[in-house]
């Protein structure tokens, strides 16, 4: 029991620290968005152009070159483009979140060692770019799906998108906390993460329906917790209804567990970071 309560107190501590230092967090996040491209004329735009362009290329390939064989639901006039977007957008957001967050402690070793600084803000601020990406691309999805469905699907989006945003960002934050802490002690972590992110796009039911996979492999597809989250997004954006309730349960449970464990791992080991950098 004390073990369990220590897990919850870590999460509490993390949330309290973030709330107390929300000004600093937002300043850090703002800067994080422009950091990489500060010398470029389009600075903030570049953080969006690359992922949006990537999304556009996937759409082109999988609607024109290899058309995805998906059946639009009877109730709404959505199409293959909406289906693809409903999987690619959360996946790209995940890539954005984990790509930078995994190394956020290691690459800021001087802050860790030389400054009395609330380190948990580092993985938290890395959530800025996936959130902005989510925002921009969802506006596009809403506009397109609203147009093809004649506005019929928009009421579902009104509740579905906020709920799934919270669920997704919670999941990403938990993963970012855990991976950034593990990266300090095990430097190969980021290679595993980038491998997972580049291959995972094709091994999750993002560009195809799960039925397209041979049944022998299908259990693995369902076993990934990220699949559950993708199913939820597809439910809302493409089907316009909760068609796989078990996926919603799994995604919610996973978000909660990964956040609590991530917070515990990070808060429990952060005092040792300085010794390993």
């Amino acid at each position: 029991m004390p073990v369990v309560s220590s897990y919850f107190s870590s999460s509490q501590e993390l949330v309290r620290s973030a709330v107390r230092q929300r000004r600093l967090l937002s300043a850090l996040a703002k800067r994080d968005l422009s950091d990489e491209f500060v010398e470029h004329r389009l600075s903030l735009l570049w953080t969006l152009i690359l992922p949006l362009f990537t999304v556009a290329v996937y759409l082109f390939v999988f609607t024109v070159v290899f058309p995805a064989r998906v059946q639009a639901p009877e109730s709404y006039q959505t199409d293959a483009i909406v289906f693809l977007l409903s999987g690619i957008v959360p996946w790209m957001a995940l890539s954005q979140a984990l790509g930078r967050a995994t190394t956020c402690i290691v690459s800021n070793s001087n802050i860790v060692k030389q400054m009395a600084f609330p380190l948990e803000l580092l993985p938290l601020k890395a959530m800025a770019s996936p959130v902005v990406f989510f925002g921009v691309s969802l506006v596009a999805v809403v506009a397109y799906a609203g147009w093809v469905s004649g506005g019929a699907i928009l009421p579902v989006y009104l509740w579905g998108i906020p709920v799934l945003l919270v669920l997704s960002v919670t999941t990403f934050t938990g993963l970012a906390l855990a991976l950034s802490a593990v990266q300090v002690f095990f430097r190969d972590t980021k290679e595993f993460v980038s491998m997972f992110l580049s291959i995972g796009l094709f091994l999750h039911p993002i560009l195809y329906l799960p039925q397209a996979m041979p049944s022998a492999v299908r259990p693995f597809l369902y076993a990934s917790p990220i699949s559950a989250l993708i199913f939820c997004w597809q439910d809302v954006l493409f089907y316009g209804a909760i068609v796989r309730p078990w996926a919603w349960a799994a995604a919610t449970l996973f978000a909660a567990v990964v956040f609590v464990i991530g917070a515990r791992l990070f808060m429990g080991t952060k005092t040792h970071f300085g010794d390993f950098l």
């Binding site: 802050i111 593990v182 002690f185 005092t271």
Partner: protein
């Protein structure tokens, strides 16, 4: 040891409200994992799989509010680790550290600065990262920039600044943070001389403003100037904790001892080379080269030759003509001295000694030869130091004296004079003919006479040491650091400067 008593006394006299920092039985050991994954294995299984490298142990400290504490020690002694643990960037392996109030730590300049952003953005961001409110930063912004002297370029990218400008801005931004406890690690050396002076003033203001300050410096001079307490960390432990003067003095002695010990080792090595067939001459050359000060003066008549000419060697010509530090003493004897010294090193703390010569008496005299410690500006000052040779054979080089006067309380070096420093080429040529460099005896007196003492009225600390009369040599036989306190009284009107020249004037038609 009296430092543990002192710590205890401090602990008993303080109520908890007074305490700003308490460090309780802290030990810090870095864990060494053969494989990085072992750390995670340890977390998961709870089984210990690491080796330890201990950097600090048995550290207990109570620092009261308003104390300004200087931490000194050699490289790698654990000073920075202690500061980092107090600042909270490292966790102690064992023990507890409590710090009351807001902490601002300047462990490294420029942390969190981004080179691509403007100076303005960086000041704001680093302020936020150090825990300042936006309004506080806005209020102080102009004074930060003015302090760094960068008003004209503050909106240009940080990377276009020179490294001195970068350091200045980083220092200015860091010291602007208002805190109850401020921790500074060697940040005083930033920028040019003018800025260093300005930052020293700022640090002094901070120290005098009543905050608790803690800083590491290699300059015992800074520690004595700024601190109300000094802690000497040696080899991971608190060696001495007390008044800055005493602690710094003990530390300086240790540094001299380390140098002497290195010389002992050198002698042992030379002896071995002699045995293995290397010629005496090369050993002498090596020793002389090692002991001679770097960048010797030109034209320099090699003083070893001079000594050999003046004083035929008592032991025949097989002995080295003159090894500067202990001329006339052979290597085995020197090794014995070094060993004896090593045994005594931890003992008496009031002076540094190599046990080759010792000071038998120190007298401050006025013009009439009457002992006193109170002098008057413009009147004579005499200092008489008795010495005794502890060796069986008196070295071939005469015994000299070096004296330094340091003002109280700011520890400015005011005056330095000695017997072995030639002041002109002419003096170099006649170096060994000078009367006061020719006497060699088992015992003797050196007297320094200043006909008109031209230093400003005030209190002074005197450091003095006896050493071989070897040109530009600073390795002492015996050295007493800041031991004697004398007073200089005004004579008529008070002098406005540290040194007041006695001037002869003329004024007339061109």
């Amino acid at each position: 040891m009296n430092d543990s008593e002192r710590t205890l006394a401090v602990r008993e006299n303080t109520t908890t409200e007074d305490v700003a920092i308490s460090v309780c039985d802290v030990r810090k050991a870095y864990r060494i994992y053969d494989r990085p994954l072992n750390f995670l294995a340890e977390v998961v299984t709870g089984r210990k799989v690491h080796r330890e490298k201990e950097v600090l142990r048995d550290i207990s400290l109570t620092i009261r509010r308003g104390e300004v504490v200087g931490i000194i020690g050699r490289n790698g002694a654990g000073k920075s680790t202690l500061l980092k643990m107090i600042a909270g960037t490292l966790a102690p392996t064992e023990g507890r550290i409590n710090v009351r109030g807001r902490v601002s730590a300047i462990l490294e300049l420029g942390t969190g600065f981004n080179y691509a952003y403007s100076g303005r953005d960086n000041v704001i961001m680093s302020g936020l990262m150090r825990g300042m409110e936006e309004s506080e930063i806005r209020r102080k912004f102009d004074s930060i920039v003015a302090f760094a002297g960068l008003e004209d370029v503050i909106d240009q990218p940080f990377q276009t600044y020179s490294s001195g400008m970068q350091a200045r801005l980083a220092f200015a931004a860091a010291v602007a943070v208002e805190a109850d406890v401020i921790i500074i690690d060697e940040a005083l050396a930033a920028g040019d001389i003018r800025f260093t002076a300005r930052s020293l003033v700022r640090v002094r203001e901070i120290c005098e403003s009543g905050v608790t300050a803690l800083f590491v410096s290699h300059q015992t001079y800074h520690v004595m100037q700024l601190c109300t307490r000094a802690i000497w960390i040696d080899n991971g432990r608190i060696r001495v904790d007390g008044a800055p003067l005493e602690v710094c003095r003990a530390y300086e002695y240790e540094m001299h001892e380390a140098v002497a010990r290195d010389e002992g080792r050198l002698a042992v090595r030379s002896q071995r080379q002699t045995i293995s067939g290397v010629s005496q001459a090369s050993v002498v050359a090596e020793l002389s080269a090692a002991i001679a000060p770097p960048g010797g003066r030109e034209p320099t008549v090699p003083s070893t030759d001079g000594i050999a000419d003046n004083e035929p060697s008592r032991e025949g010509n097989d002995a080295p003509p003159a090894i500067p530090l202990v001329a006339g003493v052979r290597a085995p004897e020197l090794t014995a001295i070094a060993n004896r010294h090593a045994i005594d090193a931890g003992g008496e703390g009031d002076h540094f000694s190599t046990h080759l010569y010792r000071i038998t008496k120190v007298e401050f005299l006025d013009g009439a030869g009457i002992p006193t410690v109170r002098f008057r500006f413009g009147e004579p000052f005499r200092l008489r130091v008795g010495y005794e040779c502890l060796l069986d054979a008196v070295p071939d080089v005469s015994c000299g004296l070096a004296v330094a006067l340091t003002s109280v309380p700011d520890h400015q070096a005011v005056m330095y004079f000695n017997t072995n420093y030639p002041h002109s080429d002419a003096e170099i040529l006649t170096y060994d003919q000078q009367e006061f460099r020719r006497y060699r005896g088992a015992t003797g007196f050196i007297e320094a006479r200043i006909p008109h003492l031209q230093v400003k009225a005030g209190e002074y600390l005197v450091s003095l040491g006896i050493l071989p009369n070897q040109q530009d040599f600073h390795r002492f036989y015996e050295y007493r650091h800041l031991v004697y306190r004398i007073a200089v009284l005004p004579n008529g009107f008070p002098e406005p400067s540290v040194f007041y020249a006695q001037v002869e004037w003329t004024n007339g038609p061109a």
